[in-house]
């Protein structure tokens, strides 16, 4: 059984800088509190060497150095027509997938973060959360077949369950007001 949840806490209306300063080893992002001890900020532009070369993607040294570490990533929840329990995707830019019509022919950027929910939330769906989200967890890198039919390269494993679940109907009502 799956249960649709609303990401939380609900803090609608907050506005955050999207265009962040250029990469720095210690990332100060205006509006974002300092990362907790033991957590390192990681940005999408630090996932891969850009531009992409002639063949595959190349992870940056920074990305590889943070494997197994706790990181914090800021991004947009990818809007899916058929979200998968326990899994959602985060991207540097808002992305809407029409996977019912187009399958895996999509507009996902190569640097997409696959967020795996904590075991307690493995059966829950994450409603599309408009706007920016910050997620923290343990970084994992390497190709992996995902339950949504895609192959991930960069993953974050949340290590704490989410509180304040909402039903799908409540999430829809909160979003559109009807």
């Amino acid at each position: 059984m799956t249960k649709r949840i609303q990401n939380l806490p609900a803090t609608l209306g907050a506005l955050l800088l999207l265009a962040l300063p250029a990469f720095a080893a210690t990332d100060e992002r205006p509006g974002l509190p300092p990362a907790p001890p033991g957590v390192t900020d990681l940005r999408f532009e630090e996932f891969l060497r850009l531009p992409v070369g002639r063949t595959g993607l190349e992870p940056t040294a920074r990305l590889l150095a943070l494997v197994g570490q706790r990181v914090r990533v800021l991004g947009y929840v990818v809007s899916e027509e058929e979200p998968t329990p326990g899994l959602f995707m985060l991207a540097a830019r808002p992305v809407t997938l029409a996977e019912v019509a187009d399958g895996p022919a999509d507009d996902l950027p190569p640097a997409t973060l696959y967020v795996h929910m904590a075991p307690a939330d493995a059966d829950k769906l994450v409603s599309h959360q408009p706007g920016l989200l910050v997620v923290s967890g343990t970084l994992d890198v390497g190709n992996q077949d995902e339950a949504n039919g895609r192959v991930s390269f960069v993953r974050l494993r949340l290590d704490q369950p989410l509180a304040g679940a909402q039903t799908a109907a409540a999430a829809t009502k909160a979003r559109y007001g009807h």
Partner: protein
């Protein structure tokens, strides 16, 4: 993600019963009768007993598979099956498949196949299958199909160019004309390239199983003359779980390569595995089976004549385990022996570790990773993979070239060609390496994808990009007389409608909220003539002009609308800049280690508070069943006209290439 394509429902129809079974039933014996529950190719005769309309139609000599699903009497195995056409036994082996069948069939059901059949005899033919059970009882059923005659004696078309605007209906074309050309006193200032094609038809686009098609049958019907079920391309439905063993129908490319030595070029702005390009050369019941689809491009290139393949979709060509690879065994295939031997194709392998780019280059292809390499590529075969999945759309590519957007760079593929540049390069390669002519399909793929997103400006600019590619094709046809160019669409997308124009300037529009955004829609006289300024690169200087054209959607999901161009290619245009502090009064950011926290940004255009309720659930608009316009230019264009079925297009193309056209 399309993980489970909707299965085609089994049409249950009692078959004729043998005398022995009838006698048993008459005697009150509780003998369950065996049935043929599917007969391929599909026919109305089989499904309802009516001879018309004719469902399956073929060109003389066009290959296709005969197949039947036979559900036997309880406990009595089927030991043999035979096919007959017009009462004459069809020679050749019939394979009985008893494993890997879909659920819900009777015990001991079989799928009987006779692969790669063809008939040269024009006319309607009766197809009969007769299955023999172990107890000697027989089960039979009949259907029909038609072989459509080719009229000989005309001058043959050497080259066929199919310009496919995915999702492009009449409104999409009109909007592109208004934006690009402008109107004055009721007249367009200049035509689109597609407006200059002299022959026009309206095309019916229904698929085998729905009035609303998708791109798989929407494309395939044009190039194989038959209806396919949604999600399926180059095959008919069957009752096995394997998506690549379905009964095949020979494509135009395969037919003309086999009979005339023509080559094939496929160009798209989508992921190259996507339905529209694939439905010219790949046979599968699962349009989402990416690994197998791209493998088949290469492995059966000697059947399709494929020598040009360009678009996005590099993720399918990288060995599994390589960063960015999407390959997996679950989306790959191994073909059954009867299919491989009859069609003369390799069985394939479930080989996610395959380095497909290396295999293409080993087979003599030149690989181009970006526009620069495409422009400089030498050799007779060209593979271009310019992005990870779909290419970036025209609005974002042009903005990148103008230096006004970072969207393209952020995706990591900054040097992507435009569709007209790809089409021109494809024509160069095809022209130089096709002594017997070629078939080229060039797709403006994201007209559809951006219409799904209800992103009006992005699909309009993609339509303009598509029109520029059409001009390239038309220019080629002007200097190569035996060339036929058709422009069409697989279906209409989103129910797009030009509802009018803004009655206010862009500056005022930006101040409007809620019902104020509804009140700015100028209808009838108030719409006047929106006028966009076109830059030297052929695209509007801005899509946010004063009194801009406004688009509504008839197949829409809920959306907020502020009528302005979205800065990003999906949701959310609110784009704060460096150095701009967070707005005071907004809630503080709340984060907890290991938890997800919302920073609460609005939905796309939500700030204006103008909610347009859709007819559909979800977040995207959908395809519609509306007929779409087809335009034709060059030799053979006169074959197109009237209201036609998408399958009729195939026969006009075959007539043009095989029988020719009288001057």
């Amino acid at each position: 993600m399309k993980r489970n394509p909707r299965p085609t429902p089994t049409i249950l129809r009692p078959s004729r019963l043998s005398v022995a079974v009838l006698a048993a039933l008459a005697a009150g014996n509780a003998l369950a009768a065996g049935q043929v529950t599917r007969l391929t190719p599909p026919s109305e005769l089989f499904s309802s007993g009516q001879a018309e309309p004719m469902i399956a139609t073929f060109a003389p000599g066009q290959r296709f598979d005969l197949q039947a699903t036979i559900q036997p009497s309880d406990g009595v195995a089927v030991t043999a099956a035979k096919f007959a056409v017009d009462g004459e036994p069809v020679p050749g082996a019939v394979t009985l498949t008893t494993s890997g069948l879909v659920g819900g069939l009777a015990p001991a059901s079989v799928v009987a196949s006779r692969r790669a059949y063809a008939s040269m005899a024009p006319g309607v033919h009766t197809l009969t299958v007769t299955a023999t059970q172990a107890n000697g009882d027989t089960i039979s059923a009949s259907g029909n199909f038609e072989v459509r005659a080719i009229t000989p004696g005309g001058r043959k078309v050497k080259n066929i160019i199919i310009m496919l605007g995915d999702g492009m209906g009449a409104a999409h074309r009109t909007a592109a004309r208004i934006m690009l050309s402008g109107y004055t006193q009721g007249k367009a200032r200049s035509p689109l390239a597609m407006d200059t094609f002299p022959n026009v038809a309206m095309v019916k686009t229904a698929s085998l199983n729905s009035i609303v098609t998708d791109s798989s049958p929407g494309m395939a019907s044009y190039v194989d003359g038959n209806k396919q079920a949604n999600n399926q391309e180059g095959v008919f439905p069957d009752d096995t779980t394997d998506a690549f063993d379905n009964p095949r129908v020979e494509y135009l490319s395969e037919y003309l390569h086999r009979t005339q030595g023509k080559t094939l070029g496929l160009v798209t702005t989508a992921d190259v595995f996507d339905a529209t390009p694939a439905a010219n050369a790949v046979h599968t019941a699962n349009r989402g089976a990416g690994s197998g689809i791209v493998d088949q491009y290469l492995d059966e290139a000697d059947k399709s004549g494929l020598i040009v393949l360009m678009g996005g979709g590099r993720k399918w060509f990288l060995p599994a385990g390589t960063p960015g690879s999407a390959r997996s065994a679950s989306s790959d295939y191994v073909l059954p022996a009867d299919l491989t031997s009859s069609w003369g194709v390799p069985a394939g392998a479930k080989d996610p570790a395959r380095d497909l780019i290396a295999d293409f280059t080993a087979a003599g292809w030149t690989y181009a990773a970006d526009k620069t390499e495409m422009d400089g590529a030498a050799g007779g075969k060209l593979l271009g993979l310019f992005s990870y999945s779909n290419m970036n759309v025209a609005l974002d590519k042009i903005a990148a070239r103008r230096g006004t957007s970072t969207v393209v760079n952020d995706y990591g593929f900054p040097d992507q060609p435009m569709l007209d540049e790809m089409t021109a390069r494809a024509l160069q390669v095809l022209d130089a390496n096709s002594p017997n002519g070629f078939v080229l399909m060039a797709e403006g793929a994201s007209i559809d994808k951006q219409a799904h997103n209800m992103d009006s400006e992005r699909w309009m600019l993609d339509t303009i990009e598509f029109d520029r590619a059409i001009r390239v094709a038309q220019d080629y046809a002007r200097t190569h007389a035996d060339t036929l160019v058709i422009i069409t669409a697989d279906h209409e997308c989103s129910g797009a409608a030009i509802i009018g124009a803004s009655t206010v300037t862009d500056a005022v529009l930006q101040t409007k909220t809620g019902s104020g955004l509804q009140q700015v829609v100028g209808q009838y006289d108030a719409a006047k003539f929106p006028r966009y300024t076109i830059q030297a690169d052929g695209y509007p200087a801005t899509t946010d002009i004063d009194y801009k054209m406004l688009i509504g959607y008839g197949a829409n999901a809920d959306r907020y609308e502020d009528w302005r161009t979205n800065a990003q290619p999906a949701h959310d245009t609110q784009q704060p800049l460096d150095g701009v502090a967070p707005l005071s009064g907004h809630p503080a950011i709340n984060t907890n280690d290991g938890q997800v926290a919302s920073l609460g940004r609005p939905l796309r255009d939500q700030a204006g508070g103008y909610l347009i309720t859709g007819q559909l659930t979800g977040t995207t608009a959908a395809h519609t069943a509306s007929d779409i316009p087809l335009s034709a230019y060059g030799r053979g264009a006169s074959l197109f006209g009237g209201v036609i079925d998408n399958t009729d297009v195939f026969f006009s193309l075959v007539q043009a290439a095989v029988g020719g056209v009288k001057p």
